[in-house]
Structures are given as C-alpha cells and as structure tokens.
C-alpha cells in the first residue's frame, strides 16, 4: 500500500460515525459522577459564602465599636501653685502671672464610614459575585 492510499484511508476514517451506544454510555456516566459529587460541591459553596458573610459582618461591626468609644478628654493640668508669699523687701514691684488654663481639646471628628467590598470569583470568568457592605 502506498503512502497516499494510507492517507486516503485515514481521511475516510475521519467521517466514520461513532457508535451511538458509546456516546450514550459516556454521557450517562459523566452525568452520574457529576450528580453524585454535586451536593458536596454545593454545600462547600454555601459554606464558603456563609464564612465570607460572617467575615464581612465582623469587619463592619469593629469600626462601629471604635466609633462609639468615649471621645478623648483633654487633661486639665492643675495650675502650678504659687509659692507661698513671702514678705518682699520694700520697694520691689509685685507682679503676679495669671495661671495658664489650657482649653479642653475638641473631640476628633469620627472617620467617614468605610465601605467593604468582597469579590468572589466563580469558575465562569463572566460571573463574579460582589458583596458590598457600608
């Protein structure tokens, strides 16, 4: 047999039909295996989603807790006690410095609320789950 005859036979083989029963068997076996595995897969997906939701909730609560904390209070330093008056020698002017009173500091303005976004990528590149929390 020559090489071109072999190539002709190969080309004919390309068009030969595949037995229908083989196709059906493969499809059924694949579906069966996937369905058997699917509940676990779905449960895992739900679990992952729940974990992310909890994480988002915790992250949201923490800054709020910080916000409700009492604002910083300025410390009032006691005015320095003047030394006991002593009898000054006559002729010297008596000067009294006013006590320094520090003003109370204004509480800092609370930081603006941050938005939290969580991006979950699925096997399908066109489908992305975005969880946005304020």
């Amino acid at each position: 047999m020559r090489e071109d005859e072999i190539r002709d036979l190969f080309r004919e083989m390309r068009d030969e039909p595949v037995p229908l029963e083989s196709l059906v068997r493969v499809r059924m076996r694949v579906e069966d295996r996937i369905l058997r595995r699917a509940p676990w897969k779905f449960a895992a997906m739900i679990g992952a989603f729940a974990a992310l939701a909890i994480a988002a909730f915790v992250m949201q609560v923490r800054p709020a807790a910080r916000k409700t904390a009492s604002p910083p209070v300025a410390m009032h330093q006691p005015a320095p006690t003047p030394p006991p008056e002593e009898a000054l020698p006559d002729g010297l002017p008596l000067t009294i410095r006013p006590a320094i009173v520090r003003k109370a500091l204004k509480p800092r303005p609370a930081p603006p609320a941050q938005s939290i976004s969580i991006r979950i990528e699925t096997p399908d590149p066109d489908v992305v789950i975005l969880l946005v929390g304020e």
Binding site: F10, E16, P19, V26, F49, A53, D124
Partner: protein, 174 residues
C-alpha cells in the same frame, strides 16, 4: 435568600454550558481515543475522565481554540498513559458493524481493519501524532502544541510512523 438563589442560578448556568460542551465534543473525543487505543471500552473510559476533568477545571478558557486544544491534550495524555500500562493490542481492533454491501466496500473495510492493526503497533506518541494529523486533520503546529513538542519533532514522528505503517502493511500482504 437572594444570595442562595443567585448561587443556584450560577450553578445552573455553568452546568448548562458544561452539558453543551459534552454534547458537542463527545463524538470527537471518543473517535480520537478509539483510534489511539483500538477499542471502544477504553475509549469510553478516557472520554468520561476527560469530561470529569473539564468539569473540575471549569470552562474558563479564553477562546474556543484553547478549549479544543485542552480537550485534545488531556485525551491524548490519558490515552498514551493507558497505552503504556496496557499490553499492545494483538487481536484485531473492533470496527463498526460491517454492512453487507458491494465487494469494493468490503475490501475497503478490510484495508481499514489492517491499517488500524498496524497503527496499534506504533509507539503511543507516534500513534497520537498520526491520529491527530492524518485522521483529525489538525495542522502540524496544533499537533505540536497538543503533544507538547516542536513541529520538527511532529513531522519526524509522522514520517517515521508512515514508513513503519507501510512496512507493516507490506508484511501483512496488503
């Protein structure tokens, strides 16, 4: 819960897309696996494994050509692994049911049967190269990509395989 419904919907869309790929590609993969392995039972096992791997991998392919290339590559790798484990085929490979037809058709079927038997005697990589290039009609570059080798290697493998096939068929008296 809306999120759960969304998850169900995503899952359903992914399963629909996967089912479509299975329907479109199963005949092609079965044919390639059968030509490399020489029997339908092993070819079915390989095709099934390829689709299960695709399901795990997901359909995140940039374009149709990369999906096709991926499917061919996994099929060929599984077939080559299986061919190395299993003893070479000594009995005549199964063929489709012979139709009672004209004498020329019977002669043609007999030639194909002998060619399949000779093909089964080639080393797995050479066999895969011949199946992809000559039966599936892929380009040398595509075959090289699937087999993970160079175009020069593929050309050499095909040339060597064709020479060997001619020798085997000559010995058989075809």
């Amino acid at each position: 819960m809306q999120a759960t419904a969304l998850m169900f919907e995503i899952s359903r869309v992914a399963e629909d897309a996967f089912g479509r790929v299975v329907r479109e590609r199963e005949a092609q993969l079965l044919r390639v696996a059968y030509r490399i392995l020489g029997n339908w039972a092993d070819a079915e096992d390989v095709a099934q494994e390829v689709f299960l791997r695709l399901h795990r991998h997901g359909l995140g392919f940039a374009h149709e050509a990369s999906l096709s290339s991926w499917l061919y590559r996994v099929t060929v790798n599984l077939c080559v692994d299986r061919s190395r484990r299993v003893r070479p085929v000594n009995e005549l490979p199964e063929l489709r049911e012979a139709r009672p037809s004209a004498e020329a058709d019977l002669l043609r079927d007999e030639q194909k049967r002998r060619l399949m038997l000779a093909l089964a005697k080639l080393p797995p990589k050479e066999r895969a190269a011949v199946v992809l290039r000559e039966i599936e009609g892929l380009s040398t570059a595509e075959v090289a990509e699937i087999l993970g080798s160079t175009e020069v290697t593929v050309r050499t493998q095909i040339h060597r395989a064709m020479t060997r096939l001619r020798e085997l068929l000559k010995k058989e008296g075809a």
